[in-house]
């Protein structure tokens, strides 16, 4: 009898495609949260496979903080066009301009938390009843407790102590009016799996993920790229460095690593040897021991 064993990447792919199709089947109006980061690119790639030769039965949905890297936005538009997906953008800048949210003040101000209001408002405005996210359980300790189908109450809140059990391949997306779900098809991928999968599938990434020379400042032990959003402060010196990014968030909070890995093969070698987590450079996670859980309860990605 032939050996019908799937490799671990094939198993993860099959699981994610199953979840994506289940989302389309169980919900009226889902959307796929697309940030232009590598995880959401992989998720959108899997969605393309799941429904091919149809187009995606849901739009790509981007929360634009106004502090994105230019390369990310260019990539976003190019990618949506390539797979023929509809793109919905919700703007944090607009929420600030209309007085819906207040910008943080102080030296380490960020728009990270402001995304929550914008996201929840946009979910309500567009009537989305499920938002697909690229979150992975290996990223962070609160995420390790996430379900594939994660219930949100009518305030968009997560109740980690009262989650629905998830058994076998049976996902319960039933909800009351006003509630919604966050759905995480990549739950079981690790950072390494993401890179190996992208390599196997020949997925192209925004240039920021590959080593390139850039002007940087070092702030709180984090290397930040100098941009219109990050300007050197007094006492900080601008240095040219070969860097790349391991995750993609706002330009203001996403730290880079020094690297010469300019191909996917070299990045995979680096990931294998890495001694720091990929979110270790994310200022948003460092605010407290349970920063991620606290934000997720409020409705964060």
């Amino acid at each position: 009898m032939p050996d019908y064993q799937l490799s671990h990447l094939d198993q993860l792919e099959s699981e994610a495609i199953f979840i994506l199709r289940e989302t389309a089947a169980q919900f009226e109006n889902p959307a796929l949260l697309f940030s232009g980061g590598k995880d959401s690119i992989v998720m959108a790639h899997l969605a393309h496979k799941a429904f091919w030769p149809s187009r995606l039965p849901f739009p790509l949905f981007h929360i634009d903080t106004g502090h994105n890297f230019r390369e990310t936005l260019e990539y976003r538009d190019m990618f949506a066009e390539k797979i023929g997906a509809r793109l919905v953008v919700a703007s944090v800048q607009k929420a600030i301009d209309s007085g819906r949210v207040q910008e943080e003040k102080g030296a380490n101000a960020s728009r990270n938390v402001l995304q929550i209001t914008t996201l929840l408002d946009a979910i309500e405005e567009h009537g989305f009843d499920a938002a697909l996210g690229g979150g992975r359980r290996d990223e962070e300790k609160a995420r390790a407790k996430e379900r594939f189908f994660s219930h949100r109450d009518d305030f968009g809140q997560w109740d980690p102590k009262n989650q629905r059990p998830e058994l076998w391949n049976l996902f319960n997306g039933r909800k009351h009016v006003g509630e919604h779900f966050r759905i995480f098809p990549l739950s079981n991928f690790t950072e390494m799996d993401i890179w190996m999968y992208m390599h196997r599938e020949g997925i192209e990434l925004p240039s920021l993920y590959y080593a390139h020379e850039r002007e940087t400042v070092t702030r709180n032990n984090t290397i930040l790229a100098v941009s219109e959003f990050v300007q050197p402060r007094e006492g900080e010196t601008v240095e040219k460095k070969m860097i790349r990014f391991r995750t993609m968030g706002d330009a203001t909070i996403t730290g880079a690593v020094e690297s010469t890995a300019d191909t996917m093969e070299k990045i995979i070698e680096e990931v294998a040897a890495a001694r720091q987590t990929e979110r270790g450079n994310r200022a948003d996670d460092k605010r407290s021991e349970t920063a991620m859980e606290d934000r997720k309860k409020e409705g964060y990605f």
């Binding site: 199709r21 496979k49 429904f51 359980r137 102590k161 076998w168 039933r174 079981n188 987590t277």
Partner: protein, 414 residues
């Protein structure tokens, strides 16, 4: 590289989270910043050692109480295998999480505190592993350091466990290992402190246990999940059936029957973005087209004409109950099975299982939270099913409370 999914079970303070922390630490899967963060937290809490449990106990309430509340998923890889761990809590009120972790596991590690021996929780966890048909169990007798690595104590626990486990019919392999998760004895390397133990280390066993043959590759089952109908000129007449193979193997040209309608046709092609496939087997997610135009939608099933599942509205099943509001005779629920959703009524509660003695308790008409037993259900539409012991994918279902929408119970068809 292949993939092993395992779950860990034990009572409170048996050291599950410590063991997982140890596996991650010794397999170099913990990053420096994670380690620094838990060193810092341990110091703040006044813990004597670096508390590896903090790696998995991620929620605020868990860190405050020093307990695990919810299933935490952890990942590590060795050059041989990739592992997904479902770390499940030991509290009696959280048994549903063990069932959840076990439902997708190839293997269960059951922890026993060497000072306490086989207790009620050990039996409960073993019973659940058996009920959910986890084929391999590792019994890790932990905290051997606290009993001076005493061989006699270990032997007695192994004997006690074996006499209980002989009544569990589904488990193929039971491996017992004396360990100290805190000190790392027999976790990754064999320990010098247990010269009397001749078996392999825990990690060696995890890396080498045979996990082929978990999926059913005999009975062809394809529950239709979603119908793909591109509204485009290029794919004008395309009508594809998307889903995850639930058993057996499908190839182009195979004769198939479509249930519940009973029409027959042939597989035309198995599609993917990267080209057509020559075969599809469990658990692949694929898209099939058929030679004939047949009315076929989500919840229907494609099978082989000479090997069909049971089709019935009367279902005998074992149920694990998760809800605070009890399962009752005549109770009505929403039932999800494969890609089908229907209504179900509890016709009869047959018996409850006393999981300590494995005796049947008859004359009950309800199950409370965390109770397990056998029921007979009547469904609104027929279920296309197999016995759970033959096929997990077509033999499992969940019951949903129609009022709260909560997942109230898990069922395994007999």
């Amino acid at each position: 590289m292949d993939l092993l999914r395992f779950t860990t079970a034990g009572s409170v303070d048996d050291g599950k989270s410590t063991l997982i922390g140890r596996l991650l630490y010794d397999s170099k899967s913990i990053f420096e910043d994670q380690l620094e963060a838990i060193e810092e937290s341990s110091r703040k809490r006044g813990d004597e050692h670096v508390n590896l449990a903090l790696l998995t106990d991620g929620l605020r309430a868990e860190r405050e109480q020093g307990i695990t509340i919810d299933v935490a998923y952890r990942y590590f890889a060795t050059p041989k295998r990739k592992f997904i761990i479902a770390d499940t809590p030991g509290h009696i009120q959280y048994t549903r999480n063990m069932v959840t972790g076990a439902s997708t596991a190839n293997l269960a590690i059951i922890l026993i505190d060497a000072r306490k021996g086989v207790i009620e929780q050990t039996k409960r966890h073993s019973f659940i592993a058996n009920l959910l048909r986890i084929q391999h169990v590792i019994v890790a007798v932990n905290k051997m350091d606290l009993v001076d690595y005493d061989e006699e104590i270990y032997d007695k626990i192994v004997k006690d466990y074996e006499s209980f486990a002989s009544r569990l019919d589904n488990i193929i392999g039971i491996q017992t290992i004396p360990i100290s998760a805190l000190n790392g004895d027999n976790v990754v390397e064999r320990s010098k402190k247990t010269p009397w133990y001749e078996g392999s280390s825990l990690l060696y066993h995890l890396e080498n246990v045979y996990i082929g043959g978990e999926e059913n590759h005999i009975d062809a089952r394809f529950p239709v999940q979603w119908v793909i109908r591109p509204q485009s000129d290029q794919w004008h007449d395309f009508r594809g059936y998307a889903g995850r193979v639930g058993g057996g193997v499908f190839r182009p040209g195979d004769e198939v029957a479509v249930l519940p309608s009973g029409f027959t046709s042939k597989v035309k092609a198995i599609h993917s973005v990267d080209g057509e496939l020559s075969e599809a087997f469990a658990p692949q997610s694929v898209c099939l087209t058929l030679e004939d135009e047949i009315d076929l939608s989500r919840g229907d099933m494609i099978v082989k004409p000479n090997n069909q599942p049971q089709i019935s509205q009367d279902i005998d099943a074992m149920i694990c109950w998760f809800s605070k509001s009890p399962l009752r005779t005549r109770g009505k629920y929403i039932l999800r099975h494969t890609t089908r959703e229907t209504k179900a009524i509890v016709e009869e509660v047959r018996y409850q299982v006393d999981i300590n003695t494995l005796h049947k308790i008859e004359d009950v008409d309800s199950f409370s939270l965390n109770e397990i037993g056998r029921v007979r259900l009547r469904t609104a539409v027929p279920l296309l099913h197999d016995a759970y012991r033959r096929n997990r994918q077509t033999g499992a279902f969940i019951l949903v409370d129609p009022g709260t929408n909560e997942t109230a119970g898990a069922g395994m068809i007999l």
